[in-house]
Amino acid sequence: MIEITNLDKYYGSHHVLKGINLSIQKGEVVVIIGPSGSGKSTLLRCMNYLEPIQSGQIMIENEPIGMIEHNGKQREMPQKNLNKMREKVGMVFQNFNLFPHLSVRDNITLSPLTLGKMNKNTANKTAYSLLAKVGLADRATAFPDQLSGGQKQRVAIARALAMKPHVMLFDEPTSALDPELIGEVLDAMKELAKEGMTMIVVTHEMGFAKEMADRVVVMDQGQIIEAGTPGVIFTNPAQERTKVFLHKVLTHS
């Protein structure tokens, strides 16, 4: 489903991702954890090319995203192809990034309508059914600033789903939320996971990782230091750095 090989990324001279290799199967829920600054959000953002990469390759359903080979040289793919690839990849941001000038419904229908994926009728119906799914059927005509953080994030999930993505990326989806609102967002994500959606989640919610992850990937200093089932990672990690990190996050939660 997603195949990342020898991925390197620099911010100027700062080497933020170092030779990342990661393979994700269809229907898999992968949770990426690690200390802040370890590159986990950056890795996630590379997967829909919101962050350009310097070398290596990311394949989604056997097609490259971002960089392609052209006459033996790596170059950025045409924007048209990039947009097409991004349709397959839904993304949920830490700060929601809802469009404040549009109603909840129009946030969801904007992309399908603009890209001619659906007619107005179908798009609206889709929006209402997605909103029902995340428990917000009654907020379709509200504007984003009339919603709580948890509601905003659920709308953002519905908005991403409207494009019928094949994989969903979650970039710290609960980090900007008040503690009492985290549950409702995690529930929506669990629902999605149960339906078989391929999900890659960067989070500090270790409870979610334990319960929902098929695989937990641990990152530190721009590298994947280990990966395994939550059972192994949380009870018997191989790496000392993983132990230190887990000790820090688990003793305080």
């Binding site: 924007q79 048209k80 947009n83 991004r86 993304m91 904007l110 992309s111 603009t114």
Partner: protein, 224 residues
Amino acid sequence: MALDFGILWQDGNLPLLLQGLWVTIRMTFLALILSCFIGLVIGLGSMSKVKWISGISATYLAWFRGTPLLVQLMLLYYGLAISLHIDFSASVAGVLGLGMYSGAYVSEIVRGAIQSIDRGQMEAGRSLGLSHWQTMFKVILPQAIRRMLPPLANEFIALTKNSSLLSVITVAELMRAANTIVADNYKYFEIYLTIAIFYFVVNFVISTLIKILERKLNVEGVRS
């Protein structure tokens, strides 16, 4: 000596001033539309990743902001006609001159407003499969326009006042009408005070209209 506003009702002075006012309003309005168009193009251009486009935009801004409007008008109307035989009528030169000058300032307003919109908005649009320009026109600009309104009110008011300079390139606008009248009767204070009030009223209307527009856009959604 006493002021004599009765002069307005003599020699057809008031109709002449009102005619001038109408020319001022018309010229300013056309220049305003031109400046918005130029401002949008140059403003977007200045943010382009394509070097020659951002280069042209930066040069445009530097030139039209860095030279006096009066000099620009002289070049456009007299300079081009006499040296290069490009002969604009006074009103065409006037609208072009005002519009191009003001467009430089509008471009900075456009750029500032767009750059003030959170980067996450563009990222969200792109992550949904929208192109850069689709996101720009459907997501970024609708939010940016609201932020442009207060500085645009300033710019449009400046534009109205600057239109008085068109008198030197023979456009029969309000200032020139006043000059014509005082050359006859020396009633400087009465006539210039009258046109000052005319300018003031036009600008008051502009700022009120923009305030109404701001409020309307507020009600329609964005409260960020």
